[in-house]
Amino acid sequence: MSAVTVFGLCAAAAVGVGLYGLITNPQPLRKIIAFNLLGSGVFLLFGIIGRRGAAAGSGNDPVPQALVITGVVVAFSATALAIALTLRLFETAGSMTLRSRAPTGPNSDPSAG
């Protein structure tokens, strides 16, 4: 079994795990983490494609590598924006839920729902 197969299967499984967490975790922050897992699986799949395209003395096709580097930075900035939105949601609504009607907890503001 070559490195491409081992890590390719690992990347496919990471996409599945991330998707499952994205759907089933109710908290926004956990959804963000799960989405990042999913994204890193997709990047790894792209890295597998690049590894198979190794030629002309370079061990990994440089074009997918450059695209993944760009993708990692964009994924980070999207994560930071999503977290800022989550913190702001908590600040204004006083609760951490994505449901349209906020639970009637001690801190929740009924007008925020």
Binding site: A11, I33, R52, Q65, A66, V73, A75, F90
Partner: protein, 314 residues
């Protein structure tokens, strides 16, 4: 089975185990810690795939900075966790598991039946390396052959910081992002924040410079510089700048700005947008990279600091 294959299988298993643990652990803070460990091990996978440039970016930005922003948010939201909504019902979870498993299966099959010989652009990139005078093929692709992607990505970074800043409340607008950090002036954090930055800044600049011929470049160098700045801020030795500061805003637009000017220069005096004249290709690329590194360092650090929370005078 060779020892290398065994190592790869163990690495893949540990990465997958961490991913599953990150999803299923009950505390969000633990999940964030798991994600940091996951990011660092994924960087090891990138090294095994012979993509050292990506490995450095993944370790510095994906695992490192991404981990800090997640840990910070998890710590702030810790108290709210008790009153969050219950998990979805069993049917929803079973359907989600079936959907995720089938998608993972399809991807796994796709990995196993990839075409042979694999399509590749590596020979084209290597044979055109002389046009820019850079020996690192990844930097060549980032800065010359697909420079448009990199430029637009700088614009995305700028939009992200605009988005984060615009979440400030009205009275904090124009103020300093994040809380004021207080640390023991004789503690370990303050000691490290004095000891590490001189070496860290040199490493960041070296990564930028060596990116022309070896793994490294503007992203990796910028991430190291950003982490040095953050270390000093978190130790309370410096404060975040107010977002209304003009010099800060100039730094934030320097990267995409210089890139755009050089690109338009190619359109006016050369054949196409972002076409570098061969004689000046390397100096032009270096100039863009220096501006980009400053922008990346400032943007990454400020994205981590979050929305403005305090008025500029305090």
């Amino acid at each position: 089975m060779s020892i290398a294959t065994l190592f790869e299988i163990v690495l893949a298993a540990v990465v997958l185990g961490l991913a599953i643990w990150t999803i299923t652990v009950s505390e969000t803070y633990s999940a964030a810690v798991g994600f940091v460990a996951y990011g660092l091990l994924v960087a090891l996978i990138w090294v095994r795939l012979d993509a050292v440039d990506v490995a450095m970016t993944e370790a510095a930005i994906g695992g490192g900075l991404g981990g800090i922003v997640l840990l910070g948010a998890a710590a702030r939201l810790r108290e709210s966790e008790a009153m969050t909504a219950e998990r979805p019902g069993r049917v929803v979870r079973l359907c989600a598991a079936a959907l995720s498993a089938s998608i993972a299966m399809v991807l796994a099959v796709a990995v196993l039946i990839l075409p042979d010989p694999a399509p590749t652009l590596a020979p084209t990139v290597i044979s055109n390396a002389g046009a820019t005078g850079l020996a690192n093929p990844v930097t060549n692709v980032l800065m010359a052959f697909r420079a448009m992607d990199t430029m637009l990505e700088k614009v995305v970074l700028m939009l992200a910081i605009v988005g984060v800043w615009s979440l400030a409340s009205d009275q904090a607008w124009g103020g300093r992002p994040g809380p004021r950090h207080e640390a023991d002036p004789n503690g370990v954090l303050a000691f490290l924040a004095r000891l590490t930055p001189p070496a860290g800044i040199v490493i960041g600049i070296y990564l930028l410079w060596t990116g022309a011929d070896h793994p490294g470049g503007a992203f990796q160098g910028g991430a190291v510089l950003a982490s040095m700045w953050l270390l000093v801020i978190m130790a309370g030795l410096a404060d975040t700048p107010p977002v209304s500061s003009r010099s800060l805003r100039l730094i934030l637009v320097a990267g995409p700005g210089v890139f755009l000017v050089v690109g338009l220069g190619g359109l006016c005096f050369g054949p196409a947008f972002l076409a570098y004249p061969v004689a000046f290709a390397k100096p032009l690329i270096l100039g863009i990279e220096v501006a980009m590194t400053l922008t990346i360092a400032a943007t990454l650090a400020l994205l981590l600091a979050g929305a403005p929370e305090r008025s500029a005078t305090r």
